[in-house]
Symmetry: C2
Subunit: 95 residues, 2 copies
DNA sequence: CCGATAATTAGACAGCCGTCTAATTAAAGG
DNA sequence: CCTTTAATTAGACGGCTGTCTAATTATCGG
């Protein structure tokens, strides 16, 4: 399942910041890269990881490629958090 | 900030499974270790990472150490997810 | 077709991460 | 005190990860 890729993708602060920026609206690869003190190839690598995890989607427009946040992020994360506490009374539950 | 440590801790599937088990109630280190096909030292390492990220708390009782899920997990993750889509002040940076 | 621009791919490399075995600390109990 | 059990710490090691430079692909405008 993709869950592991999602969490690994979120483990890097640069990628989380990318997602945060995309939360405001889609951006081109170049625009995103301009926000970070890092080479474009390095940014491209992060984009690939995010895309592989299905956290972002892409759209080409001429020479530029627009990245957008994938809405399923919320659902996957929320589901995981929910499952964490779902059947658990944390203290002492009867057998 | 502890945010980075939290996400790094969640990047490993073994640690996520530990958290899931603890969601049902506290367990001793030995009980937890018994659930995984891994040596105790390796498990101890994972416990340390989770504790460092403040995702779990510990309590000693005799020879045994009980681990419990820390409730702030939900809050931190929920806050992050919220911020992702909740467009705060645009140019704002953390001081 | 050419040159310029946007973006990715290829390959290298240091540093981190997860795992193991061996050794160590801590507590209980005869 | 000595032994046993629970758990962690120390140190080593292979593999993964993030970064870079150099090269490559894709697209547009003239």
């Amino acid at each position: 399942m993709a869950q592991n890729q999602v969490f690994k993708a979120l483990a890097d602060p640069t990628r989380r910041e990318i997602l945060r920026l995309l939360g405001k609206g889609e951006m081109t690869a170049g625009q995103l890269a301009g926000r970070f003190d890092m080479t474009k190839p390095s940014m491209s690598h992060h984009f690939a990881v995010l895309k592989e995890a299905d956290l972002v989607s892409t759209r080409r427009e001429g020479q530029q490629i627009f990245y957008a946040l994938n809405a399923t992020v919320m659902q996957e994360m929320a589901a995981w958090l929910w499952d964490l506490f779902r059947d658990g009374a944390k203290g002492r539950k009867k057998p």
